[in-house]
């Protein structure tokens, strides 16, 4: 007669994500079956190699580090309602800066100082790349979705030009920065084969968690993301907060770039683009914009990437299969949140009125936000 009380538990939002993941894997299995591969064998190998071999686990943990850092940054901007689509570009510029600075000072100062310098350079690069869209957004109200996206292409070409000319290692033929010797790269965590970048990633996620849980700035960013008008009404420095959100996520993207240079690659190569940005979007959404949930989902997505590579070759499945799975997960997630919403006790109608009632719900894109918002703003006469 009447439904039982639907009191949302703390885990309910994540259950939706898990359901989306399961659905995506089933769909992926269907695709595999259609290609004549045995999905059970494929998934069996995915799990047994990705989770069951020390190589798989080590690689997964190494892969986690940049994902954690990038996702933490993306979380800051999305929680503030700012859509930073330019993670990949910011990461590339950060990586290039880090590569140049690290190779310039390597061997001349102590390694930890070199790492710090490279990390700061990476963050500076990412921040610089986010600064352009940030200023355009804050000063002239240009939609950051478009500007950050476009800055990716600029970054791709600018870094590739720089690495072919001004910052190229003159001693080798391919376009790349000078190689940082293996012994000067980030050390492993107690002989585990996983470099300390993972710890940096975990610390970054924890810091972001503290930012939102315990600080005024985090509180204000959350309010801004949920209701910009209310933030203005309450007298919050909306423009400065928008700037902070974009710059922080850019800087963290740059840090992730530095992490890969210092921990894995040792140099920046032209056209290097690991594409963490897309994975980070999937990750942050699956984690329901909750900072600490990023950690298990980062592990899962890293496992998927590594396990996918390990299973692909023996079974003759294209490595793109894992990317397809990620895409399917986002798609299934979108569908799952739809069902979550109509099942919610606060039906559709009220949602239009008050917005989603679930805390930590991803904010919608600024659809109503005109590209030339200043027209409305200058007319508004607001301070």
């Amino acid at each position: 007669m009447t439904r039982g009380a639907l009191v949302p538990s703390r885990f309910a939002p994540v259950l939706t994500s898990l359901a989306a993941i399961v659905a995506a894997m089933i769909l992926g299995g269907v695709f595999l079956a259609m290609r004549g591969k045995d999905p059970l064998a494929a998934y069996g190998m995915l799990f047994s190699r990705g989770l069951g071999t020390s190589y798989g686990i080590t690689e997964t943990l190494i892969r986690m580090a940049p994902l954690l850092i990038v996702s933490a940054g993306l979380l800051i901007s999305l929680r503030a309602g700012v859509w930073n689509i330019g993670i990949d570009g910011q990461l590339m510029v950060g990586a290039l800066f880090a590569g140049v600075v690290a190779s310039a000072v390597a061997g001349q100062i102590a390694n930890p100082l070199m790492w710090l310098a490279a990390a700061l350079a990476g963050m500076g690069g990412g921040l610089l790349w986010a600064l352009v869209p940030a200023i355009l957004r804050v000063r002239w109200g240009l939609n950051e979705i478009i500007t950050t996206l476009m800055m990716n292409y600029v970054a791709l070409n600018v870094t590739s030009w720089l690495v072919k000319g001004p910052v190229k290692d003159p001693n080798v033929v391919p376009p790349q920065t000078r190689l940082i010797p293996q012994e000067m790269r980030l050390p492993d965590i107690a002989g585990s084969g996983v470099h300390i970048g993972l710890l940096v990633g975990l610390v970054v996620v924890l810091l972001v968690s503290v930012l939102f849980r315990n600080t005024v700035v985090g509180f204000m960013l959350d309010i801004l993301g949920r209701n910009r008008q209310a933030a203005i009404h309450a007298g919050m420095p909306v423009n400065r907060l928008t700037l902070v959100a974009l710059l922080a996520s850019g800087a963290l993207a740059g840090l992730a770039g530095a992490n890969d240079i210092l921990g894995v690659k040792g140099l920046f190569q032209g056209n290097w683009n690991p594409g963490y940005g897309f994975a980070a979007f999937a990750l942050v959404y699956l984690a329901r914009l909750h900072s600490l949930w990023i950690i298990p989902f980062a592990y899962f997505l890293s496992f998927l990437a590594i396990g996918g590579e390990m299973m692909a070759r023996p079974l003759g499945i294209p490595t793109y299969f894992v990317e397809m799975l990620e895409g399917l997960m986002l798609l299934c997630f979108a569908v799952a949140t739809y069902f979550e919403r109509i099942r919610s006790p606060f039906g559709r109608a009220e949602e239009i009125e008050t917005g989603p009632a679930t805390a930590g719900e991803p904010p919608g894109p600024l659809v109503g936000d005109p590209v030339f918002e200043p027209v409305a703003r200058s007319a508004g006469g607001r301070p």
């Binding site: 005024v216 209310a230 109608a349 917005g355």
Partner: protein
């Protein structure tokens, strides 16, 4: 539960007077035992309701009584958890708002659904099943006649944004009637209207009723319900607690009906145990104690807490009449010193048009300064300018003699100027955030909520709990998202939030809009108390009675100017009404 009314045969649209067709006198809509639960709250508890063609049916009740939920069930917005709906005797499932409209149930919501930058005709054909390219000129012709019928002297090609709210409402009504609606549901239709527009709307409803439309009027305003209704249903805490049919409503003893309705709505005059619909729960109807359902957890866990709301309610039991209980001599306000001065203020509205023109005003300590005006004459902008929410383009503002012109919102808040917006859903509160976060919103950068960097979550939580109890806010707890609360409870929190900052000057824009009588009463009384304590209260309101009741002075806004400022004792409703309309208003044509 057995259906007490057998299905009624199809009733046909029929004129009341004039050439009558035979009428089958069965209800056009029969809702039976409708229940709807939202989380822990039972919004509708076995409500039954009949709608009859050719009748105006008022649904009365406090905020949160379940009126809107019930109508949303009828409009296909929600599916009931239990219960049946019959249209002309046939049991139906109303799957969606579009489905409801197809079945002849048209709803006009409090928040209009017209697209402001489309024309009337475009709005009317919008969503029509007329193919990809609708025939606008055909619709034009039909509309022109209908607009004139409805007293709208405008072209169908007029853009909606150029219409006043009252006019927009008529377009909404036309829109649903053109879709063939035989049932017209109006949710708080008069809350946005001027007194003259209200009279005209009520005339229009009578006219529609006489043409056989079943009109449902959801309202808080007893006067309107009594003036126009043939039938009244009273909801209280999700239950149907009383119904008065045409025999009573159109009978002679209207005053006694009024008393009986009030009693049913609030139960304040007769605190007895009532049983209803055979349900086994007892209802405690003593004022202020929330009715408990099984599984309905009591907020804050204190059953006998006596909140300020309840106190206000019981102190002033004659709340429906325009009593003089809150009036006090205006002489004290005159003796108050000037706190804030506006000198030659001009500013632009949201659309870039001048909203205030060369306006000057002094506000004195200890006074409630009421601002009356038809919507869109600059009251909102004046309130925002005083509160520092809106920059001025020329003129000066002084607080205690020191200039604070365009010093920004932060300065205004720091100097003790508070503001309660009229847009509580979009501007005043963050729906997805907790009650606690919303309470802390405006002072988050200060003690005790933070030291400027680190939040003090415990202080935030304590403050939220304190305000919830003190202001009698109905919420499962401080961690509940504020968007889940009813409008009245959100309003209480917004007011509480401002008062907690102990402002010297408080601007309230329409603080009682959409509130039930008890909450409205409480808000008004709180504002008066603030002024009596030496603060300045600026009250912008469309409720003239409310302004007349607590203001020391009343200013009337017309066309961005204060056209008159009068001590309350020297004016009356008619004078205010005239000034609000600027004397240039044409008589409204009521359809014959």
């Amino acid at each position: 539960m057995a259906n007490p009314h057998p299905p009624a045969p199809l009733s046909r649209r029929a004129g009341r007077g004039g050439n009558e067709e035979p009428i089958d006198r069965g209800p056009i809509i029969a809702m039976r035992d409708i229940s709807k639960r939202f989380g822990p709250a039972l919004a509708n508890d076995h409500i039954s309701l009949d709608l009859w063609p050719g009748e105006v049916h008022a649904v009365l009740g406090e905020n949160g009584a379940g009126k809107t939920t019930l109508m949303n069930v009828l409009a296909g917005m929600y599916q009931p958890d239990a219960g049946t709906i019959r249209i002309a005797g046939e049991e139906v499932q109303i799957a969606s708002p579009a489905d409801a409209l197809r079945r002849g149930i048209g709803t006009v919501y409090q928040h209009f659904t017209l697209v402001p930058n489309l024309s009337i005709v475009e709005n009317v054909v919008l969503g029509d099943e007329g193919g990809f390219l609708p025939d606008l000129s055909a619709a034009d012709a039909k509309l022109t006649a209908m607009l004139a019928d409805f007293g709208l002297d405008v072209s169908p090609r007029t853009e909606i944004r150029n219409l006043a709210l009252g006019q927009r409402q008529r377009v909404e009504i036309i829109k649903v009637l053109l879709r063939g609606s035989r049932v017209l549901v109006l949710d708080e239709p008069t809350s946005v209207l001027t007194p003259g527009e209200v009279t005209a709307l009520l005339d229009l409803l009578r006219h529609l009723r006489d043409q056989g439309v079943a009109v449902v009027l959801i309202t808080h305003k007893l006067g309107e319900a009594l003036a126009v209704s043939d039938r009244v249903t009273i909801l209280r805490n999700g239950r149907n607690v009383g119904e008065f049919g045409p025999d009573v409503m159109t009978g002679a003893a209207k005053e006694s009906v009024r008393d009986r309705i009030v009693e049913q709505m609030f139960g304040a005059t007769q605190p007895t145990e009532t049983r209803h619909h055979g349900a086994q729960q007892s209802i405690d109807v003593s004022p202020g104690v929330a009715i408990k359902h099984p599984g309905h957890s009591e907020p804050a866990g204190e059953e006998s807490r006596h909140s300020r709301t309840d106190a206000a309610f019981s102190r002033d039991s004659s709340f429906l009449g325009m009593t003089t209980s809150l009036r006090r001599s205006p002489s004290r306000a005159e003796s108050g010193t000037t706190l804030l001065s506006l000198r030659g203020i001009s500013t632009l509205g949201d659309r870039g048009a001048p909203a205030l023109q060369d306006l000057s005003l002094d506000l004195h300590r200890g006074e409630v300064f009421g601002i009356a005006g038809v919507d869109g004459n600059g009251q909102k902008e004046l309130g925002e300018v005083i509160a520092g929410q809106r920059a001025v383009s020329s003129g000066q503002i002084f607080l205690d003699g020191a200039e604070i012109t365009n010093r920004g919102l932060g300065t205004a808040t720091r100097l003790g100027i508070g503001y309660v917006t009229d847009d509580r859903l979009h501007e005043g509160s963050v729906a997805a955030s907790s009650v606690t976060d919303n309470v802390a919103l405006k002072a988050i950068g200060r003690q005790p909520f933070s030291n400027g960097f680190w939040l003090n979550r415990r202080a935030m939580d304590e403050e939220a709990r304190r305000l919830i109890v003190e202001f009698g806010v109905k919420t499962p707890g401080p961690e509940t998202a504020i968007g889940m609360l009813s409008g009245g409870n959100i309003q209480k929190l917004l007011l509480a939030r401002e008062l907690a900052l102990a402002p010297k000057l408080l601007v309230c824009n329409k603080p009682t809009t959409g509130l039930d009588l008890r909450t409205a009463r409480f808000v008004v009384q709180t504002l008066r108390e603030q002024a009596d304590a030496g603060k300045v209260v600026v009250l912008i309101s469309s409720e003239l009675d409310e302004l007349m009741e607590i203001s020391d002075r009343i200013g009337v806004m017309y066309n961005g100017q204060l056209v008159a400022v009068m001590p309350r004792g020297e004016t009356d409703l008619e004078t205010l009404g005239n000034l609000m309309l600027g004397g240039a208003r044409r008589a409204f044509k009521v359809p014959a």
